[in-house]
């Protein structure tokens, strides 16, 4: 018996391993959050960071459904939106400052968003979690349309197209933060981002969190070990709604406005893409996806009007060739380096990178030339002093040759690796 217990103990991660794998990343994350302001980021940079924090919590909540429970939702923005709207209303009650609401600090808004998101999840999830798979996805789509439509109809609740705005400087201060300047909002966002990461991670370690993975893998077997898979899905759905609502509360304070647009399919699709691109099989995947997609969404649009197209292409590429997303690349690379196998693979990696760069060259050429041509203002794509008009043979050469060469190189690299 003692022998067996010893073997089993060997199966479980040791205290040191647990510390290294679970506690250390959290501490590192907290340190990063604390250190960022020391670099004196610009105001626009801080705003970007704040939006990253919000998207991180939102994406993690979405992955509770998609990655962990295997539930594909097309309407997750509903819960962030409803949580956010509730927070905006609470902020206005706080600003009026009478009775109970006068004593509520704006700092606590994400907690109100959490509650509202949980409530919305509990109500909407009741019918929709009876099904999984395609019916669940379709119901989520219908609900998203319904709620977004309601958002545009009920002006007193949602403020019509203009939305409802609020002021984050009302109410009593918390921890000496007036929340006026954006770098004070940073601390607020950093705190709640950490709570969101901690909370969603802790959830994966609970019996319910493990059961949600079991229900994803095999709902039928879950029934035969004594659990109702509908109940498991429903409870997970409520938590996912709650953390989405928390992100909504964070967003309410950061942007001081919510519009019915936030309930629509567009942000729901965006969080699906961010989560998937980040990697749904890893807990940290959605975090990476949220950071990358928020950054690209905010910066790529400065360079080109075709940025949404590039995001779309990237999403399709990830779905087809990188099912484990950015996190898959990061952890795969780390594993290779740790195993000391860089020597075996560096050639094929280099080949693949060069191939991808060539493919990108062609794609960018085609897209940039095409939309300038279609706009009809006679504007011409001129990278590096080149004049790439539709009448320039070089344009066509750049659009085709690197693409062909790149595809061949990538395929060769893939073949080399599979050997």
């Amino acid at each position: 018996m003692t022998d067996m217990t010893a073997t089993y103990a060997a199966l479980e991660p040791t205290r040191a391993e647990k510390f290294r794998q679970r506690t250390v990343p959290l501490i590192l994350f907290a340190v990063v959050l604390l250190v960022i302001p020391l670099f004196n980021p610009s105001r626009s940079m801080v705003t970007l960071l704040n939006h990253m924090g919000i998207t991180i919590v939102f994406a993690l909540s979405y992955n509770m459904l998609l990655g962990r429970a295997g539930l594909l939702s097309f309407g997750h923005a509903v819960y962030m939106g409803l949580g956010g709207y509730f927070a905006v209303h609470v902020m206005n009650w706080v600003a009026e400052g009478s009775g109970f609401w006068g004593a509520v600090p704006i700092f606590s808004m994400p907690a109100f968003g959490f509650g509202a998101g949980a409530l919305a999840g509990a109500i909407i999830g009741w019918p929709s979690c009876r099904r999984s798979g395609t019916p669940f996805a379709m119901i989520s789509l219908g609900v998203a349309e319904l709620v977004a439509a309601a958002g545009f109809m009920f002006d007193s609740l949602f403020g019509g197209e203009m939305g409802i705005s609020a002021d984050r400087m009302g109410g009593p201060e918390f921890a000496g933060l007036s929340l006026g300047p954006v770098d004070e909002v940073y601390w607020f966002i950093a705190f709640w981002t950490f709570i969101g990461v901690l909370g969603t991670y802790a959830f994966t370690r609970t019996p319910l969190g493990k059961l949600s993975e079991a229900t994803r893998d095999n709902p039928e077997r879950v029934e035969f070990v004594g659990y109702n898979p509908q109940r498991v899905r429903y409870l997970v759905f409520i938590f996912a709604g709650a953390f989405a609502g928390m992100a909504g509360g964070m967003s309410a304070v950061q942007d001081e406005i919510f519009t019915p647009e936030s309930l629509s399919l567009i942000p729901s699709g965006a969080i699906l893409i961010a989560t998937y691109v980040g990697g749904i099989r890893y807990f940290t995947g959605p975090i990476m996806g949220a950071i990358v997609m928020t950054y690209m969404g905010s910066n790529l649009s400065d360079y080109t009007v075709g940025w949404l197209l590039y995001l779309g292409l990237m999403f399709v590429g990830v779905v087809m060739f990188l099912p484990n997303g950015i996190a898959g690349i990061v952890y795969g690379t780390a594993d290779t380096l740790r195993a000391g196998r860089l020597g075996e693979v560096w050639q094929s990696w280099l080949l693949r990178l060069a191939g991808l760069a060539l493919i990108a060259t062609s794609v960018i050429t085609i897209v940039e030339v095409a939309f300038r041509w279609s706009e009809g203002y006679g504007e011409v794509f001129e990278p590096f002093g080149l004049h790439l008009g539709t009448d320039n043979p070089l344009t066509w050469a750049l659009g085709v040759l690197p693409l062909v060469l790149g595809v061949v190189m990538v395929m060769k690299a893939a073949k080399g690796e599979s050997k």
């Binding site: 067996m4 217990t5 073997t7 089993y8 199966l11 479980e12 647990k18 802790a202 959830f203 370690r205 609970t206 019996p207 319910l208 969190g209 493990k210 059961l211 993975e213 079991a214 994803r216 893998d217 095999n218 039928e220 077997r221 879950v222 029934e223 035969f224 070990v225 004594g226 659990y227 109702n228 109940r231 498991v232 409870l235 938590f239």
Partner: protein
């Protein structure tokens, strides 16, 4: 004393197809009971009716005297009946240890708990270790279930089934597709795991059936044509005619 498992005049039709036609069966507590019969006789359907996967068209199923037909599988499981599947039905993306732990959780009273750290539940860890050790998968505890060799997946299937400590265990062809030596190991495991419990088993391997079972029922076209000890079944003329033929003589 009430029977552990009692089927009374059980019927099941899918549209015009009558799959189970009036099955009566009583399995005593602690008995190892095997169900045999040709392909398409309705053995798996019978298991699905007992375990709640299908609703009977008519008739009833009682577990320790309590009516369970019409209940959901998870309700029946909580009342102390557990089953395995003919095709391995495991949690493929989880490790072996996590698979067994899922089977243990509910019986330990951790319903849908979301306020506890699963790693800190000592009784759950110990029970999981005990089950893993019993089935001989302790060394492979951290292997992802999908990567297990076939025979080990079948073993894991049994491990999940017994993990919840159910008193009545239904095994659907536990040795299907196994080699001789693997079958021997599986039989030893089933004997050990079903000690003191009621076992209902569907099996094609007659060697296994006649070794393991206290009593055997023969299901043909949705009806039980004979029930008795292995000797009685072996000597039963109708059984020979309907099904066993030379197989029984080989096994004897």
């Amino acid at each position: 004393m009430t029977a552990s498992l009692e089927l009374t005049d059980l019927h099941k039709s899918f549209g015009p197809a009558k799959i189970i036609q009036g099955v009566n069966l009583s399995v005593a507590r602690g008995e190892r009971h095997a169900i045999i019969g040709p392909n398409g006789a309705g053995k798996s359907t019978l298991f699905n009716l007992i375990s709640g996967r299908f609703m009977p068209s008519s008739g009833e199923v009682r577990l320790n005297g309590a009516l369970i037909s019409g209940k959901k599988p998870f309700e029946i499981n909580r009342m102390g009946l557990s089953r395995s599947f003919q095709v391995s039905n495991i949690f493929t993306n989880m490790t072996v240890r996590e698979n067994v732990r899922c089977g243990v959780l509910h019986s330990m009273g951790y319903g849908y708990s979301f306020w506890r750290n699963i790693g800190n539940l000592r009784e759950v860890s110990e029970k999981t270790a005990h089950i893993l050790n019993e089935v001989g998968l302790l060394e492979k505890g951290n292997t992802p279930a999908a990567l297990l060799p076939y025979a080990d997946q079948r073993t894991l299937e049994i491990a999940i089934t017994i993990a919840g400590g159910a008193e009545v265990i239904l095994l659907d062809e536990p040795t299907a597709g196994m080699s001789h030596s693997e079958t021997d190991r599986a039989v030893a495991l089933i004997e050990k795991a079903s000690k003191g419990k009621t076992l209902l088993i569907v099996e094609h391997d007659m060697g296994v059936v006649f070794n393991l079972a206290d009593r055997i029922s023969v299901l043909v076209y949705g009806e039980i044509i004979a029930t008795g000890t292995p000797e009685q079944i072996r000597g039963d003329a109708r059984v020979r005619e309907a099904y066993l033929g030379e197989e029984a003589e080989d096994a004897a």
